[in-house]
Amino acid sequence: MKRTIITVVGKDTVGIIAKVCTYLADNKINILDISQTIVQGFFNMMMIVDTNDAEKSFGDIADELTALGEEIGVIIKCQREDIFSKMHRI
């Protein structure tokens, strides 16, 4: 399974999670885990998702999520899980 980490950082506003989740559902991306905090008024979310069934390429998904972030006014990054697991797990 190809796991991907999506991070969303920005000013808190109504419907951030809804919009991101709608995009993921539309593209057959399954959410495995969500954690979210608000630090000093800033919205901070991490999602672990499974992109196995997605039809679009990783690059397209990443670009579209970035564009979606710009629309909402937050920064959305999409990265393969390996960079984090390699760095933080032996």
């Binding site: 991070t7 991490m46 990783f58 990054k77 990265q79 390996d82 984090f84 390699k86 760095m87 933080h88």
Partner: protein
């Protein structure tokens, strides 16, 4: 499972502390391109590079996107051209045509530098080696992306002083040939003692003859990450300091290992090594000198600098070695002057001299790097500087190098501008006393006693 704090830490390193993969370097053997016909040789070289490396830049971009980590440079290193061109090149001009071919191939595949316009002459020079060396000023002034290196000595063999003398002249000629651009050619020319076969960093990268047909080597970086980690342990003892550097180096190197494996898989080319290096850039916060200051020095160059650099270099290796399955190249902390804002500040403040830099090269990766000297420095003096650095490498069984830029028409107090990743350099004073009689003796310095291990 990965948690939000770990994700935030990694992304903070990338976004705020300049963590990046400095280079993916694709090493390509050109030994099978050899032909006695010069045109055919050039065609073979162009075809091989543009075939093997055709997907390199695209693959690098894909990896950048998938992991969200910048890969600053995609580069190519090739077999030392003196070996490849020997059969076909009868003159220096013949060799220079190969430099043009390399430049053309680099532009075609979109890499920003190509290394391997090189000769390995630690014991003696063949006719081809000498022709190639003599062609360097022309090759570097007529091409844009070609890098040249010459290995002048080794711990096992000694130092070829004839070649050291010649390189003093060649460096000056290269500076002269590119004087309209602040002697830019010298930035692409480096001389070594104990040059490694698998170095991914320019200008000294070449694809050694001990290597396979093609190989992926990766150079990581991250002085900013180490600096930020050390800010949190100010005032703590050396044990805490060293542990912090080690852990940070581990994390940085893991990213390099991941990128190297991924590039190798995507390109279908074996993974060679990860070069564990702290390679600075002129960007603020991306400085090795700043780490030295964070360790407790007012400026790089202050008393204590050599010790601080020694521990930094050692901890980087200790942390990095476990993070990667194969480690090689130059591995350690680089101390180029022009590419490191903290080093530039130290030189400008008068805290850092060539002599102190030379002492620092005894304990760090590589050597006197990217420093500008007055344009009227004599060739024999440059050879003397090279000989000193080669001796340090030879006796200490480490790689040392010299990349100096004699700034033609300029003197101490002025500066040279290279632009981009290469930065700018204040011109440093050189010891004015002569070493001409020493350099002109000719011949070679024998191998040191500890070379006779058998």
């Amino acid at each position: 499972m990965i948690n939000i704090f770990e994700v935030t830490e990694t992304n903070k390193m990338i976004e705020k502390e300049n963590l990046d993969v400095r280079t993916i370097t694709l090493g390509i053997s050109l030994l099978d391109c050899i032909d006695s016909d010069l045109k055919k040789l050039n065609d073979n070289i162009y075809n091989k590079i543009t075939t093997v490396a055709k997907d390199l830049v695209q693959t690098g971009a894909e990896i950048e996107k998938e992991f969200g980590i910048p890969i600053v440079n995609k580069r190519i290193s090739v077999t030392p051209i003196a070996l490849v061109g020997g059969a076909a090149c009868k003159t220096s001009e013949d060799f220079a045509t190969i430099a043009e071919t390399l430049d053309k191939a680099a532009k075609q595949v979109g890499v920003n530098l190509i290394g391997g316009y090189s000769a390995l002459v630690s014991k003696g020079m063949t006719k081809a080696d000498e022709l190639l060396i003599r062609s360097i000023p022309q090759a570097l002034s007529t091409t844009e992306r070609v890098c040249s290196s010459v290995n002048l000595g080794s711990s096992k063999i000694g130092i070829n002083m004839d070649a050291v003398r010649l390189m003093g002249e060649i460096i000056l000629q290269t500076a002269e040939a590119t004087k309209e651009n602040d002697s830019l050619g010298c930035m692409k020319l480096v001389v070594f003692c104990n040059a490694p076969d698998d170095n991914p960093f320019m200008a000294g990268a070449f694809h050694g003859v001990t290597e396979a047909d093609a190989v992926i080597n990766v150079g990581v970086s991250g002085p900013g990450v180490v600096k930020t980690a050390l800010e949190k342990v100010r005032g703590e003892n050396f044990e805490v300091l060293c542990e912090t550097i080690k852990k940070t180096a581990f994390k940085v190197t893991r990213v390099g290992q991941l990128v190297a494996q991924e590039a190798s898989k995507k390109l279908g080319i074996p993974f060679g090594i990860v070069d564990l290096s702290l390679a600075p850039t002129p960007a603020i916060g991306d400085s090795v000198a700043d780490i030295l200051c964070e360790i407790g020095l007012e400026y790089a160059g202050a008393p204590g600098t050599t010790a601080a650099l020694a521990l930094l270099n050692d901890q980087v290796k200790k942390g990095g070695v476990m993070a990667s399955s194969y480690v090689g190249g130059l591995s350690g902390a680089f101390i180029p002057v022009s590419e490191d804002q903290g080093m530039i500040d130290a030189v400008t403040a008068g805290a850092l001299t060539i002599e102190k830099l030379e002492a620092m090269t005894c304990v760090c990766s590589v050597g006197l790097d990217m420093l500008a000297i007055p344009g009227d420095t004599k060739a024999s003096t440059i050879s003397g500087i090279i000989a000193d650095e080669m001796a340090i490498g030879m006796v200490n069984q480490k790689t040392t190098a010299v990349r100096v830029i004699p700034a033609i028409g300029k003197g101490v107090g002025e500066k040279v501008e290279f632009g981009g990743l290469f930065g700018y350099a204040p011109i440093m004073p050189v010891n004015p006393y002569s070493c001409e009689a020493f350099v002109n003796r000719g011949g070679r310095i024998p191998a040191p006693i500890h070379s006779f291990k058998n």
